[in-house]
Symmetry: D2
Subunit: 183 residues, 4 copies
C-alpha cells in the first residue's frame, strides 16, 4: 500500500513540515510505503507550459499509484493555502475513489479545524473519500522539541486512528475497484 503525505505550504520557516514528518513516520511505522509530496516541488511557473506539463506528469505518476492520501497543512485566514490548492487542482481522475486523511496545523488553539472543513469539500469535489478522523496540531510552535520530536501525546493516538480508518477505506475501495474492472 502506498499513501504519500502532501505538505501543503512552502512558506519559509514553515512549522507544518514537522507535522508532515511526524505523519510520514507514523505511516511508515504502520507498514505503508510513503513519502512527502512537497508543494515547493510543484510550484507552477507563470508562463512555461512545458514545465507545467512536466510537473503535472510527475504528480500524476505518484497520485495514480497512490491507494490514498494524507494532507498536512496550516490554516491561513480560515482557509487552505493557495499553493496546496494549485497542486490539488493540477489533477482530477487520479484521485477518484481514494481515501484522504486531513491534518490541520495552527499557531493558535483550534488546530486548523476550519481549514480541514473547507478542504473536505474540495476533496469531495475531487471525488476522494475524506476520513471522519483527522489529526490536529494546535500551537504547533510549542508541540515539538528542538530535535523535531513531538512532545504532544494526543497526536499519536489521533494518527493511529486516522491511519486505521484510511487503510480500512483504501482496502475496501481498491477491492471494489478491481471487482468493477473485472465485471
Amino acid at each position: 500500500m502506498y499513501i504519500p503525505v502532501i505538505l501543503g505550504t512552502g512558506r519559509e520557516g514553515r512549522m507544518s513540515e514537522k507535522a508532515a514528518r511526524f505523519m510520514l513516520e507514523k505511516t511508515i511505522e504502520a507498514g505503508i510505503e510513503s513519502e512527502i509530496i512537497d508543494v515547493r516541488d510543484y510550484r507552477l511557473p507563470a508562463t512555461d507550459n512545458t514545465e507545467k506539463s512536466l510537473l503535472a506528469g510527475k504528480l500524476s505518476q505518484k497520485a495514480s499509484r497512490a491507494d490514498g492520501f494524507i494532507i498536512v497543512s496550516p490554516e491561513y485566514n480560515h482557509g487552505y493555502p493557495g499553493e496546496l490548492k494549485m497542486l490539488l487542482d493540477m489533477l482530477f481522475s487520479q484521485y477518484a475513489h481514494k481515501p484522504v486523511g486531513l491534518c490541520g496545523v495552527s499557531s493558535g488553539a483550534w488546530g486548523g479545524t476550519r481549514m480541514v472543513e473547507q478542504l473536505r469539500q474540495v476533496c469531495l469535489g475531487l471525488r476522494m473519500v475524506p476520513t471522519a478522523r483527522a489529526v490536529h496540531f494546535p500551537k504547533i510552535q510549542e508541540l515539538f522539541d528542538d530535535s523535531g520530536t513531538l512532545k504532544g501525546k494526543s497526536q499519536h493516538d489521533q494518527a493511529k486512528k486516522l491511519l486505521d480508518e484510511l487503510t480500512w477505506y483504501a482496502k475496501a475501495l481498491k477491492e471494489q475497484g478491481q471487482v468493477a474492472a473485472r465485471s
Copy 2:
C-alpha cells in the same frame, strides 16, 4: 440492498416531497429496497422523553439496517432545514461507514448547492461517505407537471449516476465491514 430516502422538510406545501418521490422511484427501479423517511414523523416533542426514545428507536431500526442513505432537502438561507438536522442528530453509530447521496432543492436557480456543501460536512461528522455526485432540483416549482411527473431531463441522468456511485460504495464498504468483523 436497502437505501431509504430521507425527506428533509416538513413545511406545509413542501415541493421537496415531489423530488423525494422521484428519487424513491428511481431507487426502486434500480432494484433497491427503499422508502421515504419523513421528518414529519420524527418531530421531537419538547418535553416527553419517553416519546423521544420511541422515535429514536424507530429511526435507529431503519438506519441500522440501511446500506446507505439518500437525503432530499431544500436549502433555507444557505443552510439545511433545522428539522433535518434534528433528525440526523438523533443517532450516531448507525451511520458509520455508509454512503450518502445528497439531493438539493431550491425555488431559485442554484439547486440547493450551498445546502449540499454544508450537509456534506455534517455527514462526514456523522462518519458517512458522501458521494461526489449529487442531484439538483432548481426552480422546483417549474420542474414537475400537475400529475407529479418530472419534466426536467437532467435529473434522470444525475439520479442514475448518483445511484451507481451509491451502490458501488455500499457494496465496497459492506464487504470490508464483514471482512473486518470476521478478522
Copy 3:
C-alpha cells in the same frame, strides 16, 4: 442599544446555557440592553399554525428592535443545532444589515469553530454582518465552577473584543440606515 443573546440549544442538561449567561452579563456590563432568547420558547408546533404565527410574531418584535445579535450555541456533528436553525428561519427582513457575534461551545477541544463557520454562512444568507471576532468555550464541562462562574480567562478578553466590534458595527450600520431612510 439592544442586543439579545440567542441560546441555540434546548437539550436537557445543556452546558451552553452557562456560556449564554456569561455573554449576557458581559453585554449588560458594557451598558447594552440585553436578554436571552431561548430556543426552548420558540419550538414550532408540528400542526398548529395559529401558535406558529404567535411565536413568529413574538420573535419578530424582539428582532425588529434589535441593533445586533449574539448567538451562543454548541456544535453538533460539525454543524449547528436544528432548533437554532428553525428559530433563525422563522424571520428574514428583521435581520438585514445588523451585526451578529457568534460564540461556539463544545465538550471537546475545538470550541465549536466548525459550527461557527457554518453559521456564518447562514447569517450572511440572512443578510446579517458576522463579526470577525468570536468567543469559544472548549471543554465547557470544565470551564465553569459550581456556582456558574467562569474559570477560564481567555473568554473575558474574547467577549470584550467581540462586544467592541459588535457595537462598532451596530453604530455604523444604524446610522447609515437612518441616512438612507432620510434620503
Copy 4:
C-alpha cells in the same frame, strides 16, 4: 470612492476575465473609481524575497486606499483558485472593516455558488464584510458574444444590487472609522 475588481484566476483562456471586465464597467458606470487587480501580476516567486516584498507593497498600496473590493473568480473543484488565495493572504490589516462583493463564474450551471460560500469564510477571516448579494455567471462560455458583450440579462440587475449594497456598506463603515479615529 475606490473599489478595485480582483480577478481570481490567471489560467490561459480564462473566461472569468470577461466577467471581471463587465463588473469593472458597471462599477465605473456607478461613479466609482476602479481597476482590475489581476492575479497574474501578483504571482509570488518561489525564492526571491525582494520581489515578494515589492509585490506585497504594490498590492498594499491599492488595498489600503480601497473603500471596498469586488472579487470575480471561477470555482475549481468546489473551492477558490489557489492563485486568488495566495494574493489575498499577502495582506491582512488593509482589509479590515471594508465590504467585499463576490462574483462566481462557472462553466456548469451553478454559477460558482460553492466557491462564493468558501470565499466568504476567508473574507470574514480577513475581517472584511461580505455583502449578502452576489453576482453569478453560470455557463460563462455561452454568456458573452464575440465582442465580449454580456448576452445574459440577470447579471445586470444582480450587479446593480451588489454595487448598491457595497457602496451602502462602504459609506457606513468609512464614516464610523472616521468617528472612531476622531474619538
